[in-house]
Every structure is written in structure tokens, then in C-alpha cells.
Point group: C2
Chain length 454, copies 2
């Protein structure tokens, strides 16, 4: 086997031609999405008021393990993919660990994260079905920026409801979305009924992904030829994100790299779900014994402290019900800096895999996460996104364990994006003014009490 370079790039020809659908491999499917009115399992038609048809079909496809990536999306992917699989030689040296550390780096595009992988797909299908405009929500802004890039490329209009606290922390993200032609509205806003309702109940709120989703869905329903798109949580988003895992696995296979541990940060779960998809398939088939770890914020601990229940995807309780690990759709997490992880629930696919013992989870307070981020930046060069830094923290912990035990484990994590728009947060960490917030048991009980009765 040849020596492993710092960065492994697949050639254009080696890029995946199909996405990987882990649901076709899972021994038991996750519980079905339920219609919020009838409480019956959703069929494609139930999803059409919100989603375009191709995506609704992908959402409910539990049978095909591989789904072809249309040529137009593959062309778009070639603008910024393949992304590198990086050997973290410098971090290994800094930690003095016998572990081998790799990360799949998804931050080399202007959206700064993996979100572009699903944005391209969703906008392509919308355009193909004659949709002229889209609405969405964004937390930290990565998803909104990604969607703006895809919309301007395919020629589709876009309105982004941006979580207010993020819009204030990250004006640059707004300017970026506007440069790509999107309209950006801070959420909760007074432009929708949902927004006005939330503002009336919580006048001082900084908003949340749940609130912003409600506003975006309402606008999509009320606007002609307009659909809603979502950047995480849903099965079809994880499907698109499998391009991360497929590229990673191809690169690993090329160099004989066999991960012992695979780590991803987890908010809604799209990155982790995409990264592990083909590796998990092998695990389910008994072909590997990889430990999969979800790294989440202690301020929004859906896996580590949540409950496995049917819940809405949004605060205003308008979405279909999904069975997932959740801290409750009425729970509004504290304004920590990893905006992309401030979602009350977790992907139904990942929730099921976690419930069945295929994945473990850890949670971290943000000051520990920024310490890991800073160590990583100083040794590997790249300034990570706060979200991604949760995975870094978990990877460093694993590598330090190896230093203590002498194990030469191969640790692989997803570096979902860069922190170039998160420097206010870094400044707060550098200045020593960052505070950590962890919900009390009472806070969580309140969230659980608001769960729908199913």
C-alpha cells in the first residue's frame, strides 16, 4: 500500500454516481412519518403540499439501496467535489497519539459546509417540476447559503427565514445569501402568522430552527408554485448526504484505511447520517465492527438526554410527526454558537440506529468544543465551524484515550465546515466571555410534557 498523503482526492470519474439509501439495509425500518391530522402513516400525496414530488418519493423510499444521481446534479457536484479525506498528521503529532486520525473535509465550498450536497439535489428536482421559488429556514446560515448558491445556479427564487440570534451573530451570512440573490428574513418575523404567534408568546426570543421552519412552511403553502425545502433531519436529505460517506469509503478502500471509530457532529443528523451510510450498511451486514459516535451540544442534547417519541419537526406543530429522539418541539435551546445544532430532534434514521444500539452519543459544552476547535486550527491550519468542532472534540478524546492505552486505532470524523463566519464566537472564547448552558432536568421535563399524544 502506498504512503498515505495529507489529502486524498478521488478523481472526477471516481465520484459516486448513485446515492446510498441506508433504509434499504436496516434490519427494521424506522417508524413511519405520521400525518399530523389523521395520525396515519404519510403517503406521497400527504407530502406534496409542502415538498416537490421527487423528494416526497425519496422520503418514502425504504427499498432501493442505491438511487441514481441525475447528471445535472453530478455536474454541480463537480464544481466543489470531491472533497478531500485528510490525514491529520499534525494533530496526531500535537496530541502525541498512536492513533491515526482522518477527517472528511466538507468546507471547501463557499457555503462552508456539507449542506450544498442536498441543496443542489433539492433545487434541481424543484426546477424540474416547474417550481419557481423555494422557502427554507437556516440556523447558522450554512444551509441558507448553500441553498442560495444552488438556487442562483438553477434559476429558482429563494426566501430564507434565518434564526434571529444567528442573523444577529452572523450578518456576513446574510450578505452572502443576498449576494447569491436570496431574500433573507430574520425569524421569528411579523411576515407570517406563525412568526407573529411566536413573537406574541415569547417577545424577546432569539428564535430557533423550529420557529423558522414554521414560517418557511407557511409561506411555501401560501405562495403559488412555491415549495419548502429542509436542510437536515429528513430521510431524503440524509440520502443526498450519503455522497460524503461514499466518497470517504472509496478513498479509504483506495488506501486500505479501516476506521475503528467514525464520528460526526449531530444536530438534525444529515452530516452524520451521510458520512456513516455505506459504513453502517457494512456493519449491519456484519462486515465491520466500527464504533459510530454522534457528537451533540450539551445545550440541545436530543440523543443523550432526549426521549424516543413522535414529535413535530417545528415549533408551531405543522409538520408531519416523526418518531425520533427529541427534547420536545416546544423546547427552545439557549443561544449557543453552534447554531446548526440547535434543533430539538434527531433524524428518524439515526434515532432508530441509536435506539437499536448501532450508534452511541456524547454531548459537550461549548467552551470545551471551542478549546478543541482552537487546538485543531492551530495544528491543522483549518478553522473549523463550531458545529464540526463537536466532532473534533470527540475525536481528540478518542485519540487521547489511545495515547493512554497505546492502541493504534483509526479514527475518522466529519469536518462538516469552516468557522469563517463564526469569528464572533471565537472572539468570545478568546476573550474568556463564553458561557456554557446545560438544560436542567426540569427544562427537559417541560419539553417532554409538550410532546404530542400519539
Amino acid at each position: 500500500m502506498s504512503e498515505i498523503p495529507y489529502k486524498i482526492y478521488l478523481s472526477e470519474n471516481e465520484m459516486p454516481k448513485s446515492w446510498h439509501n441506508i433504509r434499504a439495509v436496516m434490519k427494521e425500518p424506522h417508524d413511519p412519518m405520521l400525518h399530523p391530522g389523521t395520525l396515519k402513516p404519510c403517503v406521497t400525496e400527504d407530502l406534496l403540499p409542502i415538498f416537490c414530488k421527487s423528494l416526497a418519493e425519496q422520503e418514502l423510499n425504504f427499498t432501493d439501496e442505491f438511487i441514481e444521481i441525475p447528471e445535472e446534479i453530478r455536474s454541480f457536484y463537480k464544481m466543489y467535489r470531491p472533497s478531500p479525506l485528510v490525514r491529520a498528521y499534525c494533530l496526531e503529532k500535537e496530541l502525541g497519539t498512536p492513533a491515526k486520525i482522518y477527517y472528511k473535509f466538507e468546507g471547501t465550498n463557499t457555503s462552508g459546509s456539507h449542506k450544498l450536497n442536498s441543496a443542489a439535489a433539492q433545487v434541481y428536482y424543484a426546477k424540474k417540476e416547474g417550481i419557481t421559488s423555494l422557502t427554507t429556514e437556516t440556523g447558522a446560515g450554512q444551509w441558507g447559503t448553500a441553498l442560495a448558491m444552488a438556487c442562483v445556479y438553477f434559476g429558482v427564487g429563494l426566501t430564507v427565514y434565518m434564526v434571529k440570534v444567528s442573523a444577529e451573530q452572523k450578518p456576513y451570512r446574510r450578505y452572502a445569501m443576498e449576494t447569491y440573490g436570496a431574500k433573507v428574513v430574520a425569524s421569528p418575523s411579523d411576515t407570517t402568522e406563525s412568526g407573529r404567534k411566536i413573537l406574541a408568546e415569547n417577545p424577546g426570543t432569539g428564535g430557533s430552527l423550529g420557529c423558522a421552519i414554521s414560517e418557511a412552511i407557511e409561506t411555501a403553502i401560501k405562495t403559488q408554485n412555491c415549495k419548502y425545502v429542509l436542510g437536515s433531519v429528513l430521510d431524503h436529505v440524509l440520502l443526498h448526504q450519503s455522497v460524503i460517506g461514499l466518497e470517504t469509503k472509496a478513498a479509504c478502500d483506495m488506501y486500505g484505511i479501516r476506521p475503528d471509530v467514525i464520528i460526526g457532529c449531530a444536530g438534525g443528523g444529515s452530516n452524520l447520517g451521510g458520512l456513516i451510510s455505506p459504513f453502517m450498511a457494512d456493519k449491519i451486514r456484519g462486515k465491520n465492527d466500527i464504533s459510530f459516535i454522534a457528537a451533540e451540544p450539551a445545550s440541545c442534547p436530543s440523543l443523550t438526554r432526549g426521549t424516543y417519541a413522535y414529535d413535530f419537526g417545528d415549533t408551531c406543530r405543522t409538520t408531519p410527526l416523526m418518531r425520533m429522539y427529541t427534547v420536545g418541539s416546544s423546547y427552545i435551546p439557549s443561544p449557543n454558537h453552534a447554531g446548526g445544532l440547535r434543533f430539538h430532534g434527531m433524524s428518524p434514521i439515526l434515532s432508530k440506529l441509536y435506539h437499536d444500539g448501532y450508534i452511541s452519543a456524547k454531548s459537550y459544552v461549548q467552551s470545551d468544543v471551542f478549546a478543541a476547535a482552537t487546538l485543531f486550527a492551530r495544528s491543522e491550519g483549518t478553522l473549523p465551524a463550531p458545529e464540526s468542532a463537536h466532532a473534533i472534540k470527540a475525536a481528540i478524546d478518542e485519540a487521547v484515550k489511545c495515547r493512554e492505552t497505546g492502541e493504534e486505532k483509526t479514527i475518522l470524523f466529519g469536518l462538516t465546515g469552516t468557522g469563517y463566519f463564526d469569528l464572533t464566537a471565537y472572539n468570545s472564547y478568546n476573550a474568556g466571555t463564553m458561557t456554557d448552558s446545560v438544560p436542567s432536568d426540569e427544562d427537559l421535563e417541560k419539553g417532554f410534557a409538550g410532546l404530542p399524544k400519539v
Copy 2:
């Protein structure tokens, strides 16, 4: 020849092992650097109060065409290089041009630009010679960030004098430098004699690279075991940046790409000089007939409206004298958003090549540059730095000419960096509040009148 992919990456083994020194190929050397006191050509010893020895020697090396890149620097390069040579398929389509457009993209590292190539080299040599801290200036912040990254990697302290107007426009850059452990001072400051003098004369000034250089040099001289490093203009910086051109040429040779036009933005000249170095050698040797174009801001037009004369590198007239195209070291350009191009002079190497007719130059007002930047971002995905966008503007103009004439020219330009820290400028462009500023002939005459008598 195989089909050309969107992105051409060299393998690690194909990365350059030596830098290219264009001075060894030029038919006539540029005029020597002069000691500001004696007005005699500088020898190595003259440079040692400011620069470390290896760099002083490289600065005065007119004879060796190739200079080996030390192993430690090559390791550092592997963290973020090779950079991709990108075929701008989407931009070509958007413009409807028969031209083939390529760009060498140097913005994939956290400093966001090519500056890291020389930062790594300069810090390595300083460390090797026992230097414990460095000082420098930064305009837009790319150089300062690059240097902070290299300093923390090699374990050397750093103080950055950041042009005040940039520090105000781009606080994120400051936070980034601080995250990498650097101390950042807005210039002009009251911490140096030079700064206090400039402030006394121009109380409201937003500063300039020239001012910041004066402060950084003063601090380096007054601090033990401390040297000054510079991110552009000087011959040794262009030498390090030749890694850009060498990689580009290797990628072109691999796919049989023969550029007709090569374009780079030009402030101090390090990117353009590095990009064209090996191609220019071939041109001088009669092996190609490439048109080289320097793209500069109309607000600081050293090539297009400057004079070819001996001048200082800094406002306070402390550096050696260099013969270069200059608008005068006393000229303080208007605060346009391409901070990295706000330097009064131009690299002596490029000045000589321009003087001898090997390079042509064009200047652009910033609103035209941002229009080109926005078009590029929307078609190619990547949000460019305002500096780089000068080259984009020139490349688009060339490609549009091809559309009119039907010529299938191959146009190659340097995309030096990303605009992620420049979104205030994009916002000003989007909001229609951006103004253009071009110096009057009288403004320039005043700058010329201040030139030293040599």
C-alpha cells in the same frame, strides 16, 4: 489528451521541490535595491537589521534559477496544497464565450489566500535562525492571518500592524489572527514613533500599508531577537510564490493546456509574480507568446499611472530604496475594499518586466470589480476576494472579446483568495452604496513630488 476535469489537482509527489527565481532568466536584472543612507546597492549585511539571513540572501540572489524548498516547508505546504487549477466551465457558459477559462485557486486555506506560501517560508527561516518573534503589517488581513497560522505552527511570536480601515471593516480577520495566537494592533497606532508621527500629521487617517510597514519595522528593530517580515513586493516573496506558477504549469502540461493570456491582480505583485514566473521564463526564452496582464485598482494605479523611479517601501521612508512603478510612498490611497491592493508601489521584478514590455496592465474601479465578482460567484460558486476580482474582471473582459471575435483563446487567471471576510464590501455593493474613487492628476503629482531624489 483526456477530457479536462473541473478541477485539476497534482498529486503530492508532483508538487514542486524548488521555487523558481525569474531573476536568473531575465535578460537584464532590475536595478538594485539601494541603502537609504548611502544610496549604494544593498549587500546582505545591510538587510540584516530587518530581515533574517536566509531571506536577505534570497532577496539578493539573481543567479540561481531554482532554489530548493526545505523539507519542513514542503510538509507545511502539504497541509493545504496543491491548490486546484479550475476549468471555469460554468463561467464560460454564462458568458457564452468560445474562450476556455482557467483559474488557479489559492483560497482553499484558512488565511483565504496565496499569502500562506510565503508566510510558511519566512517563518521557517526565522525559526531556524533563532528568531523568537516577528512583526508585520497587514492590509485586508490575508497576510496577517497567513503569518499567524505559520507562526503558531513553527512556534514563533507575532505582532501584526493592521491597516486601521481594514481592521474596522474586517474585525473577523482580527479575531482569526488572535485565534492563531497573534497580537493585532490597528495602524497607525500610538505604540510606535512612526505611528505617532503619522497620526500627528493625519489625525483622521484610515492608515495604509505604507504606514503599517513603518510601525512594524520600528518594532522589529527595537525588539530583541525579532525580525520584520513582508507579504509582498520583495523579490524573495515572489520567489516563494512561484510555487503557484510551478503547480499551474505542471497542471497545464499534464493536460496540454496552453494559455494565451495569463492574468493576475497586482497590489505589491506577489501573486502575479508567482503565478507567471515559469511561464515568463519560457516567454523570455522565446518558447511561448503569452500575454501577461496585471489587473490593478484605479484608486491605486501604480503601473497604469505611476512613474518608474526609486522609492521607499513605506510611508516613513525607512526601507531600502527600490526602483519600481509607484504613485509615491507619500500617497495614501482612498479606502477602497481591496485592501490588499492598496500599496503605492509594485514589485521591482514586475516593474522591470512591465517597463521592458513583457507585461501589460489594466486598472478598474471597484464597482465594476464587484459586478464581475458577483457574476463569478453566481456562476462558479466561489465568492472571490475583492483583490482577486480585479483579475476576474480582466478575464471576463478578455472572454467577452473572444465572444465578439470568435477567438477560442485560453485565458488563465489567478484567483488569489476568497471574499468570506469581505462581506461588508459585498453588502455595500448589493445595497448600491459603493462609491468609486480615482485619483486626480494633481493627487498623483503630489505623490510624485514626494519621491526621494536619487
